[in-house]
């Protein structure tokens, strides 16, 4: 649960006390202060935990408790990152590597999501088709799908195409299953109501089925962007000229664990930014849901 919703819940839980003797405005101010203090405390503790981990790691490495060669140390990782930013990487400027990986991720995310939604909605509303295809889909889903990266590296070459393909395969299944489920779980009453009101099949699909499935689909986008990143990086590991995954692969070949960690830090940063963007998208797409419900994630 996010800090904001925690604060809100806190407010809600205390609400009945409003009836007590003190003037309402007084109570409200007090409660706001309380909520703010709590928020500050959470932020403070978060920061403290992060600092403790980094300092502990650094001191452990310097004292020799942690083997620097295998586990690196924060100062080395920061230095590597700084070198990449200022002098560029062995593969070229750092911004190029990040951009390439972003491009592959976003490309795979969109291709996979679009196909996932289309197949999910079509199969979800056609029982015969879904019955016929279900063993194949289940079978395909059972394969550890990152291995298709190997196939695409051969068939599509080492450039961006093979990474987009790998990422979109990973994304496709997640979005597909959610869209499918979303279509299947449409409230029978809403469908009956729309039919009584005069909706034809097309209107039923666009105005009832898809909006209803949308909350499932959007919920899956959080997971699937992460998978798109996995797909892009795995694609790069199978062979690439550029990208953060390739950077990690190069560093590994040089036994440069600081480089591996620096790459991981970059990927984490990319994922966090994307997560924030998707949350924003979710808010825009689904305005009709009570705001609290969308904030139950971590």
């Amino acid at each position: 649960m996010s800090v904001r919703s925690a604060a809100r819940l806190n407010l809600a839980a205390n609400a009945p006390a409003e009836q007590a003797g003190r003037p309402a405005s007084d109570l409200a101010t007090g409660r706001r202060q309380q909520a703010r203090r709590r928020r500050l405390a959470v932020y403070g503790l978060r920061l403290l935990l992060g600092v403790a981990i980094v300092v502990g790691w650094e001191l452990g490495a310097r004292a020799g408790v942690i083997d620097k060669f295998f586990w690196s140390q924060p100062s080395d990782i920061a230095a590597t990152l700084w070198r990449w930013v200022t002098e560029g990487t062995d593969l070229g400027p750092l911004s190029d590597q990040v951009l390439v990986t972003m491009e592959e991720t976003v490309g795979g995310f969109f291709v996979g999501s679009i196909f996932g939604v289309i197949f999910g909605v079509v199969l979800g509303s056609n029982r015969l088709l879904s019955d016929v295809l279900s063993p194949y889909i289940k079978g395909a889903n059972a394969i550890p799908r990152v291995v298709v990266g190997a196939l695409f590296a051969v068939s599509l070459g080492l450039d961006i195409k093979s990474k987009i393909a790998t990422a979109s395969v990973l994304v496709f299944f997640v979005v597909f299953f959610n869209a499918f489920q979303g279509v299947r779980e449409v409230d029978r009453n809403l469908v009956a109501n729309a039919r009584i009101l005069g909706a034809n099949t097309r209107q039923l699909t666009t105005e009832i089925v898809i909006p209803s499935a949308l909350s499932w689909i959007v919920a899956s986008l959080h997971t699937s962007f992460g998978l798109a990143l996995v797909g892009a990086v795995v694609g790069e590991l199978f062979g690439a000229y550029q990208g953060v995954g390739e950077l990690i692969y190069e560093s590994k070949n040089l036994f440069d664990t600081s480089g591996v960690f620096a790459g991981m830090a970059l990927l984490a940063a990319i994922a966090l930014v994307a997560e924030a963007l998707i949350s924003e998208l979710e808010k825009r797409l689904i305005t009709w849901r009570p705001p609290v419900a969308t904030e139950t994630r971590i």
Binding site: N189, I196, E207, P211
Partner: protein
């Protein structure tokens, strides 16, 4: 003039998930005149809602005939409004879009539908709430949206499936009075399903009592109370009490039968 709704010897069976056959209605005969307000009462599980499903064309009968204005029902008929027991307003549409949905589905332009919808929103007392989403409304207000949504299409037949059962008592009698005043301005025939005898009598011209499932019409009662009625006060009318006692004697046996069955089912 042809009768509005006629069910002749209607039987409805469902397949249960375990493969058995469940008979919800058995040899049901029922007639509703144009412009008449009818209530259907009966114990839980006697097939009241099923009756509405058959009239609306959402479900075909297993046997027998269902006619609406002299025409056999094949699929969903036009000129029909249906208020469901649970909330069936579209959660992703605003009040305005919800009410405008019917006219739009029936081919009216967006703009015209909106103008018409605003009018109906005012009539059900929701002016100023056009841009709210259903989750931002109270249960009573959502029922008003559903009512406007059904009435905007100018239905000749309005089917209501315990529409107010989830509301608190005060809101409920307010909504009932409002329903009557909106209905009196139309010429629609209403079939109002409820398990609440008081509600049935205070709203309707005729009350059908169904037997414990499989349901069939046990008896029919005429409610000769004057209109317009104030739902909150009519129950103090001596005639109301007479009618209530008369119907209740009849209904009580069915309720007991149904209750005994449930107890046995649970044991």
């Amino acid at each position: 003039m042809a009768v509005a709704i006629q069910l002749r010897g209607v039987t409805k069976r469902f397949l249960t998930p375990s493969g058995g056959v469940y008979t919800a209605l058995r040899d049901l005969n029922l007639t509703v005149e144009p412009g008449e307000f009818c209530a259907v009462v009966g114990p839980t599980g006697c097939g009241k809602s099923t009756t509405l499903g058959l009239i609306s064309g959402l479900e075909p009968p297993s046997e027998g005939e269902v006619d609406v204005f002299g025409q056999p029902v094949k699929g969903i008929a036009g000129g029909l409004g249906y208020m469901f027991q649970t909330d069936a307003v579209f959660p992703w549409k605003t009040v305005l879009e919800n009410v405008a949905a019917g006219p739009r589905y029936r081919g009216m332009s967006h703009r015209e539908a909106r103008v018409k919808a605003r009018d109906w929103i005012t009539r059900v007392g929701l002016a100023g709430f056009e841009d709210r989403y259903p989750y931002q409304l109270s249960g009573g207000m959502r029922k008003r949206v559903a009512l406007a949504q059904s009435l905007i299409n100018g239905p000749r037949i309005l089917l209501m499936d315990e529409p107010f059962s989830a509301l608190d008592v005060q809101t409920r009698s307010l909504m009932e009075t409002e329903l009557l005043s909106l209905w009196s301005a139309t010429s629609a025939s209403v079939v109002f399903v409820t398990h609440d005898l008081e509600e049935a009598i205070s709203l309707s011209d005729r009350v059908f009592v169904l037997t414990a499932g499989p349901g069939t019409v046990k008896s029919t009662y005429k409610v000769d109370l004057p209109r317009p009625r104030n739902v909150a006060e009519i129950r103090f009318n001596p005639r109301f009490i007479e009618i209530y006692e008369e119907i209740w004697k009849d209904l009580k046996d069915e309720v007991l039968v149904s209750y005994e069955r449930q107890k046995r089912g649970a044991a």
